[in-house]
Subunit: 134 residues, 4 copies
């Protein structure tokens, strides 16, 4: 799968002249949603089915700074899948140099916030994630 691309916007920089570190959490979300869409599970369709996928935790290690107009390539992989949780890993590069590595974990809940089993609620999604998991 080709990496997801995010071009750093002017409004994403800060007065240090670099991309503000909080934005990488947003780039992770962009890449994750794009990945899920590409394996056949667009986020908005899942929401329409009453299933939401809150973020349980994130971590982000900043290796190099980036700035306005940099094109960040984000490679995503499924790192772990259980019946109630999945984890993803992200590698972000600019011109083949790693600028950030990151992880996120996610559970599944009903629209009302009740935790649900991914395997039971969305067996197709569970299977697709497991197939991607390495």
């Amino acid at each position: 799968m080709t990496p997801y691309r995010h071009t750093v916007q002017y409004y994403e920089t800060d007065k240090m002249g670099i991309t503000h570190h909080s934005n990488y959490i947003r780039f992770m979300e962009e890449a994750r949603i794009d990945f899920l869409r590409r394996i056949g599970w667009p986020f908005d369709e899942m929401e329409q089915q009453g299933v939401i996928s809150p973020v349980v935790d994130v971590s982000c290690a900043y290796k190099k700074t980036t700035t306005f107009a940099d094109e960040i390539e984000i490679t995503v992989r499924v790192a772990e899948v259980t019946k109630v949780r999945f984890a993803m890993e992200y590698t972000m590069t600019v011109r083949d140099t790693v600028v950030c590595t990151a992880k996120s974990s996610h559970c599944f809940t009903s629209a009302g916030g009740r935790p649900v089993s991914i395997e039971k609620q969305c067996p197709g999604f569970y299977a697709a994630l497991r197939e991607q998991c390495c």
Copy 2:
């Protein structure tokens, strides 16, 4: 009424070293919500009653730049009230110097997006706005 205060955060600056201009639209929202709360109409209670208040238009004139740690004082006034619309004006100052003047217009809709008459749907709110209108 005392002005609303917003202290500029680091993440609100950009690589010019100043507060990014898009954030003033957010400061307007903060001050407007605070104002409505103070005249007895908290935004979240109105939403719980199924009434939302979309922004119809905004304009913003940037007079002076601001930056990290500046304390912006925002004075709000109700500029216009009709049965289906109201407008607000904002004056933002830092240490008594005007840094930005702005306007916004708002209508009222049901949760489903249907326009509603403020006068009919929320007579108390309509009266409160008219009382504030100068």
Copy 3:
């Protein structure tokens, strides 16, 4: 010139379920910077030459709401050019329906904040803008 495209991100929505209105100011910046790059005047090169282009004012009229995953097409035109100022107009559409129209004005300053004549400081940029102006 083909329109600039911005796909609405999840983090750009708010609890009304729609794209938060402040983000359109950011979409304007994205489209403007893309436009200037395409007419040969990339923003970062101008900054490296010590010229910055602060926003003097913006206005935005919201016609229809947009939401997560919508692809917004933004057409930009140069509405006015003088020796010290230029203005741009933006039309944003989703699936050929206008969702927002907007304007912005800009001046030019040195890195230190002193206003400069676009015509004198950047004659090539001034000529390029005038050529685009309709």
Copy 4:
């Protein structure tokens, strides 16, 4: 030391109806800058002395969702200090319930991006951090 307070803004929510998870990284920054200011080391003064403090890594565990108008109390502690690095821990609560726990690590660099020893470059800051470290 009293906790830092952040009231969740409307523009910080997303279409799930909750505070978007990326914003907690920003709340951490707000609380950290406030803490450093209160122990006598305001961020902007350090920057004026040519010392910047990039974020090396962050992690965030989301325990409970929060939403518009919630007042988040953020308690900060210095978890580790070495000559070239320090780490901070954050506990965020709403009405005495923990909603998020987080960590961040930071190094120090010159304005040009060269790593510097905190102990050598800012002995007073180094001493103040060590005094707070538990």
